[in-house]
Symmetry: C3
Subunit: 397 residues, 3 copies
C-alpha cells in the first residue's frame, strides 16, 4: 500500500461531520461512524506528517494529564508521545493519596488539575462496574467546571482502558487492519476470530476482546467471539456487537471452540482474559480487602484456566485459517510458549512470523491518541492540519 497523500486525507476529513469537539472519547459504541473515521484519518495524517518531518505542534503550552490506575508501559508511552507530538506537557497524576471513591472529591480534583489542561487520559480497568463510571464522573466534572466558567477550556477525557472498552487499542488495531487490507471497505466480509487463549496468569482485563468485537462489527466484518464456557464478557459490548453486525451487514457469533473460530478466518486475535464472574468476585474481594479469599480465588481461577491449555495459537491452529495465512494480532505483550512462559497464548514460531506486524500494530496507538486529542480540542481539525501542512515547519532540524 503506497503512502497516502496528506492533502487527500485532509480533504476527506473535512467532509466528515464529527461530534467530538468539546467532548470525550470513552466508548467507541457511543461514537458516530463519522467520529471513528475522523480518528482514523487524523491518525493517518499525523503519521504521514511525522514521516514527512512536518511539525504537528498545535499547542505552545498546556498540560496533558494522565491518570493510570493500573500498570501501563505501551499506553503510557503512547500518551506521552502523543502529548509531545502536539506540544503539550505530559504530567502524570499520582492519586495514591486522594479520596477517589468520593464523588464530591472527584469533582473537585478534576477541576483542580484542569486549569491549563487540554486532555486527561485515564486508565481504570481493575474494577468491574467502576472504570467507565469513574471516567464519566471526571468528564461530567470538567464539563460542569467549564460551563460554570471555572475552567477556561474544557479538557477532553480520553479512555486509556476501562472495564468496558479499550478504544485507543481497538482503534489502533482497526488502523492496522485498514493498512494491512488496504481500506476499510476491504474489511467487509472478512472473518476475524477474537478468541480466548490460555495464559498462566490471572485477572487479565476484558476490555480488549470487548473493544474488538464492538468495533469490528461496525465495518461489515464477520466477527466470531470464542472462549471456553464461563469466560463471559460484559453484556454492553456484546449487545453493541450484535447491533453493529446487523447494521453493517456483517455478522457476530459466539462459539466455544478456538478451532471453529479460526476456521477460514482472515484475522485471528488470540488473547487471554478472566471470566466476568471472576472479575466481579475479585472486585468485591478487593473492595472488602479479603486477601485470603483473593488468594483462593486466584488459585481456583488458575486451575480453571489450566483446563484450557489447548486454546493456544499453534502452527496447527493457524493452518485452519484462510489459506493458513490469517493475520495474527495481539495488543502485546503476548504470553509466548517456551519464551515468556512454559505454555501460553501463542507458539513461538507463529509469534516470530508476526512480530513485526504486531509491533506496527502497536505503533499506531500514539497517533490514535493524538487524533482523539485533536478532534476533541479543535473545532476545525481539518483546517488545523491543513495549516500545519502548508506551514511545513520541520519537526526535527
Amino acid at each position: 500500500m503506497s503512502a497516502p497523500d496528506i492533502k487527500q486525507i485532509i480533504s476527506r476529513l473535512k467532509e466528515l461531520e464529527t461530534s467530538l469537539y468539546q467532548k470525550d472519547f470513552l466508548l467507541t459504541w457511543n461514537q458516530s461512524a463519522a467520529d471513528l473515521n475522523a480518528v482514523l484519518l487524523t491518525a493517518e495524517c499525523l503519521e504521514e506528517m511525522v514521516r514527512a518531518n512536518i511539525s504537528t505542534r498545535v499547542f505552545q503550552a498546556g498540560l496533558a494529564v494522565s491518570n493510570f490506575r493500573d500498570k501501563s508501559t505501551r499506553t503510557r508511552f503512547s500518551f506521552a508521545s502523543a502529548s509531545s507530538l502536539l506540544g503539550l506537557t505530559p504530567h502524570d497524576f499520582d492519586e495514591s493519596q486522594s479520596q477517589v471513591s468520593h464523588g464530591e472529591t472527584v469533582r473537585e480534583t478534576a477541576n483542580m488539575i484542569s486549569f491549563l489542561t487540554e486532555v486527561i487520559g485515564i486508565r481504570d480497568d481493575m474494577f468491574i462496574g467502576e472504570g467507565h463510571e469513574y471516567q464519566q464522573t471526571v468528564a461530567d466534572a470538567v464539563e460542569q467546571g467549564y460551563k460554570d466558567g471555572v475552567l477556561g477550556q474544557r479538557p477532553a477525557i480520553v479512555n486509556l482502558q476501562c472495564d468496558r472498552d479499550h478504544p485507543t487499542q481497538a482503534m489502533a488495531d482497526l488502523l492496522h487492519l485498514q493498512k494491512t487490507f488496504g481500506s476499510l471497505d476491504a474489511l467487509k466480509g472478512k472473518k476475524i476470530a477474537m478468541t480466548w487463549a490460555y495464559s498462566p496468569s490471572y485477572g487479565k482485563p476484558l476490555s480488549v476482546p470487548q473493544g474488538i468485537i464492538a468495533l469490528m462489527t461496525r465495518f461489515g466484518m464477520n466477527v466470531v467471539l470464542a472462549h471456553p464456557e464461563g469466560y463471559d464478557l460484559v453484556p454492553e459490548p456484546l449487545e453493541a456487537a450484535a447491533r453493529h453486525a446487523k447494521q453493517s451487514k456483517g455478522s457476530f457469533s459466539q462459539v466455544h471452540s478456538m478451532e471453529e473460530a479460526f476456521k477460514d478466518a482472515d484475522i485471528v486475535y488470540p488473547k487471554s482474559w478472566a471470566p466476568l464472574s471472576v472479575m466481579k468476585e475479585r472486585t468485591r474481594l478487593l473492595r472488602a480487602k479479603e486477601s485470603a479469599k483473593l488468594q483462593s480465588l486466584e488459585k481456583e481461577a488458575l486451575e480453571n484456566n489450566a483446563k484450557f491449555k489447548s486454546w493456544e495459537c499453534t502452527e496447527k491452529m493457524m493452518k485452519v485459517t484462510r489459506g493458513g495465512k490469517a493475520l495474527y494480532m495481539h495488543c502485546l505483550p503476548a504470553d509466548i510458549t517456551d519464551v515468556s512462559c512454559k505454555e501460553g497464548e501463542v507458539a513461538a514460531t507463529v509469534f516470530d512470523r508476526y512480530r513485526n506486524p504486531t509491533y506496527s500494530e502497536a505503533s499506531h496507538k500514539l497517533f490514535v491518541i493524538a487524533a482523539m486529542m485533536m478532534l476533541t480540542r479543535f473545532e476545525k481539525p481539518a483546517q488545523v492540519l491543513a495549516d500545519l501542512h502548508k506551514k511545513a515547519d520541520r519537526r526535527r532540524a
Copy 2:
C-alpha cells in the same frame, strides 16, 4: 467586573519599581508593595493572554524544578502548568535518597540541579522552624553558585509553602479578592475573618492563616484572627500582621470566638490548623523517631480538637456576617460536614453556594506562580509581556 485590558495592565506594571529580578519569592512580608502589585498585575496579564489565546512562551528551553517535601495536588499542578505556560520543562526532584539535613549537601545539590534551571519551587511545611530555613539555604547556594560563575543563570526559589508562609496561596487569594471586589482599593476597610475551624484531622499546617493575616493587613483591611485558646500561630507573621495593619490604616485583632470574628465580616476564611505547640512537639518527635509518642500526641490533639466542634461555618454562622452574604474562602480541600467527614469546617449548603468561587480562587495560583517566575527571571517583565502581546502568537492553533 469587565475583562481588564492587557495593554493597560502592562503599562501599570511598567510603572512599578520591583526588586524581584534575580531574587526569590519566599515570604510576602519581605517583599515591597511594588513587588506584590507586580505579581498581581503579571498574573492578571497572563490570565488575559491565555483567554485571548496569546502564547506566553518566553523560554525555548530550561527546567522548572519542583521539590515537594510534603504531599500536594493543587500546587503541584499549578507549578507544572505555570512551567508549561512559560515554556519551561517541569522536572520533579525526588530527594528521598539524599542527605538533605546537611548544609554542605544542600549547597552542592542545589547547584547540581541548577545548570539549566530557571526556577526551583519548594514545598517544605512539615517541620516548624525548618521549612523557610531550608528554602533560604537553597537560595543562598544558587546565589553563591551564580556569583562564582558555576551557574550560567540564577534560578529563582519560589516558596510553594513553608512553615511560615504560603505565598502562592495567599497571593492567589488576594487576586481572588481583587477580582471579587473590583480593585485593591475596594478592599480598604473590608473585614476579613481568618478563623480556625473544626476538622477531624490532625497536623494541618499553619502557613495559610499566617500567610492570610500577614498579607491582607497590607491592604487596609480589618483582619480578625480567631481560634480557640491554645491554637497559636508562629510569632513572625503575627508581628508582620500587626505592623502592616498600622501602616495600611487597617486593623488586626485576635479573638477566641468564631462568631465574634464573623460578625459583620465581608469575607470569611474558616480553616483548620494545628496548634503551634503541637506542631513543635510533632517536629521534635518526628526527628527523634518516637512513633509511640507521636501516636499519643495525635490522639490528644484530636481529642482537643473535638472540644471545638462548634467552630463550624454553618448557615447560622454565615447569617451574622455582613448582610449574611460574606464571601466564603478556602484553600481547598475543605472538610465539609456530611460530605467529606461527619463533622467538619463547613456546612454542605454553605460550601455548595461558594463552590464555584472557591474553584476560581484556586485557578489563580498557576498564574501567580508564573508571575513570580517572570518577575524573578526577567529584568524588564513589562517589556517581555508587551513583546508577547504585540507578537500575538497563538497558544493553541
Copy 3:
C-alpha cells in the same frame, strides 16, 4: 581562557569525519578520535550558544527516555536538561514491573517505548558483567526495529553509566581539563593520578576510574592508576588504557601507593570504589537473593576498606603534587572528612579550595549528553548548529 568563537567551533566540527549518526554512545574506547572530538566541540558550541542566549531547540516534538536502574541526581538532571535544551520531552521509564532479564522482552519493550523517541539514556551499573550487555541489547533491538520499518526513527542509546564505562562523566571531565589547561594539546605529557581513596561506604561503582583511565590515555597524558592491592578494576578498560597510552605516546602505569601517584601530578582524581571481586560476589548474591551473605560481604568489605584510611587526599598529600597545585577532580558527591563523614576521600580544606572547579566540572555533563544526542541524531550536526547560530532565536525572551 577567552570564550571560544561559535563559528570557529562549528567550522572545526565540520572538518571531522564522525561515525555517530544513527549509532549509540556506549563506551568511549569504541569511538574514534573524531567522534570524541566532535562530542567536545558540540558540547562547547552548545555551552556558548546558551551563554549567547541562542535557542538550540532542534526538535519540535519527540521523547528522550531515561531508564535509571540505579539512583541518580546529577546525571538525571543533566539528561533532563539536555533534553529540554534540544526540545525533546524527557520521559522516565520506570521498569520496576517489567521482566527485563528476558531478552525477548527487552527487545519488545525497547521498541514499544521508541515510536517517537530520539534518545534512550540508560544507567545500569549495579551488576558486573550486565550493564553494558543490557545497553547493547536495547541498542540491537532498536536498530532491528528501525531496519524492519517498525520504528520511524532510530533512537540513540546513550550510556549514562554502566559496569564498564561512564562516558558522559569522563567526557565532561575531559572538557573540564581542556578548558582548565587551554586545549587538548596542552594535556600531552600532563600527569593525572586516578587513585582510590578511602570511604566509609561500600559497593561504589568502578565505572568512573575505568572511564578516566581509558579516556585520558588517548590524549598523550601520563595516567597513573593507584589503589590498594585487591581493588582491581574490570580488565577491558585497563587493556584499553594500555593500548591508548602506547598509541598516544602518553603512558599508563599502576601503583599501590596514593603518594607515589600524587608525586608531581598535574591532576589528581581521588575517589573510592569497590574491588572487582567484591562487586562480582555482590552481583552473585544479589541475583541469588542471599541477604544474610550480602550483609557479611558488606561488613567484610567495609572492614577491608578501613585498613586504607590513609588513602585520603589531605593537604599534605596535595603538597607532593606538581608545585603543590595539582587540579583536584571529583565526579561528586565526594566523601569529605569531617563534613559528610568522619574520615573520607578528601580533607575539607582541599575540597573547599576546589569546590567551584568541581562544580564547573559537573556543569559540562548536560552539554556532553546534548552533544551525544545531536551527533547520533543528525547527519550533519555542524550544519544544524550553523543554522541555529544564523537564525539566532532567543532561548529566553
